[in-house]
Assembly symmetry: C2
Homo-oligomer: 329 residues x 2
Amino acid sequence: MQSGEDKLIARYFKPLARHPGALGLTDDAAFYTPPEGYDLVLTTDAVVSGVHFLPDDPADAIARKALRVNLSDLAAKGAAPTGCLMTIALPPAFSEGWLRDFCAGLQSDCEAFGCPVFGGDTVRTDGPLSVSIFTFGIVPHGAMVRRKGAKPRDRVVVTGTIGDGALGLRLLRDPAKAQAWSLNQAQAGHLVDRYRVPRPRMAMATSVRAFASAAMDVSDGLVGDLAKLCDVSGVSAVIEVDAIPLSGAARRALHAEPSLIETIATGGDDFEILCAIAPEHVRAFQDHARAAGIAATDIGEIVEGEGPPRVIGADGALLTFEHASFSHF
Amino acid sequence: MQSGEDKLIARYFKPLARHPGALGLTDDAAFYTPPEGYDLVLTTDAVVSGVHFLPDDPADAIARKALRVNLSDLAAKGAAPTGCLMTIALPPAFSEGWLRDFCAGLQSDCEAFGCPVFGGDTVRTDGPLSVSIFTFGIVPHGAMVRRKGAKPRDRVVVTGTIGDGALGLRLLRDPAKAQAWSLNQAQAGHLVDRYRVPRPRMAMATSVRAFASAAMDVSDGLVGDLAKLCDVSGVSAVIEVDAIPLSGAARRALHAEPSLIETIATGGDDFEILCAIAPEHVRAFQDHARAAGIAATDIGEIVEGEGPPRVIGADGALLTFEHASFSHF
């Protein structure tokens, strides 16, 4: 009596639904009892084959990326993840082996991040594979950190390193670049891995709540995302290009091809936390980050005024970029 | 500085985000403060062009269907809607006029159902248009009605009429059927409308909570969905085919082509509430339904045992169907 769809759900998705409210995915809906005194934080992101990941990326990495781009939003808002729901549109040619690997990657991340699957919908499509994940988390009532709130004199701080994901995508599209950029195998692998599997900075959520006046995650490009944060806060910013934190691999690529600074600063796929922090709190934020094994780098200053952030080069001259960030349209 | 994507969001999606927690869609995430003593009810559904709706269905109807299939799940669980998030994958050829109409349909329904948009993600795809909506609602703590819980001697009750949506799809695929089924224009229009724009039975949510021992919405076909409810409840059922509530249009089509009973009983796209109700509560449930202007029809009985529900024909013989319900795989 079970349909093919029911069998897929029972075999592959049910093991992801560890929360009792998920009812083993045997119901129309799930339930969740929110803890008293907390707000829910809600976010959703869709990833499409050929747009957000490459068709031959490993299935488990696709699942991890689909979840982690959501978790990165929660971390930047100061929230702890609680659960997720997923819709997946499978093309006719998908194999059960692919789905098994996809679900193995998802299960591993759901467990690692404490974010079980509460429900979903599996449909077919004649188009490319796509995955939409909706994630919900919690923060103490009123404590969600917004993009709005950056104040003049705040420092602009970013976690981790910038540009690895965008450079990884360039490498996947043109593997010959590894040699042109003088990268060894480990360095090339690092960049590709950062494109495929973001590192959402969940360990920084409480520090973001404690110290940031405004925060967001860097997904569409550092310069463009900073512009969004400034715009909604009614301020501008000045950042030093030399202060942007780079991995060893990115630094080497940039040395070989200096114009890559545009890819690094505007390419996106970073999934780091970008925040504005009052000068007196920067040190404490950085101490918390260090304790979590995460870099937190002061790259510039929030300033009065309007208009996009100014990016100052090593020579003191203003840098300009063709596109400040990635846009689908 | 605004990207094309930002402009689309500001122009078309922001007016849908009326809840203060949505922050006008200018942030990475939204927040929601759940009322004390309530559980959240969470559900998600995806609709894909050519699978769940036809490519030339009106844009506003596609939006309404995408939301209403979710709302129907909430109603069947006894929940009141609170809000939704949406991801939409737009093919290269989409027009802004199409998007304007889509958002107008969505806005009208978000307002009518008290279900504002809290967030979303707009991406492009080389494949068919698809829309994933995640909806959350609330019920008093512990009160979500499940599929599990049907007991022998409970009556099987269904709201509204069954088969209209599936017949409407048949008509859209083969308009000559209208004449073959002796339907006038209004009758044909009724069936097509029910396919395109489901009627989620939100007015029945409190009655479902008060009286149903188990409930679900009929989306994949009456017989198959009843089988799912019985399976998870550890019971079986017997229903009378003559008791299945039909619209005038469906009755006429069935009279012209008796084999349509299979489409009606197993075709899906009904989005009515199917529930098991103890015999002593059926009258009260029907009274509540009548007061809300909704039919609630007793179509059979939950019985002990296992296995799929038995469907008894007018002649007392057992009916069998090739597929009990729609499955994507």
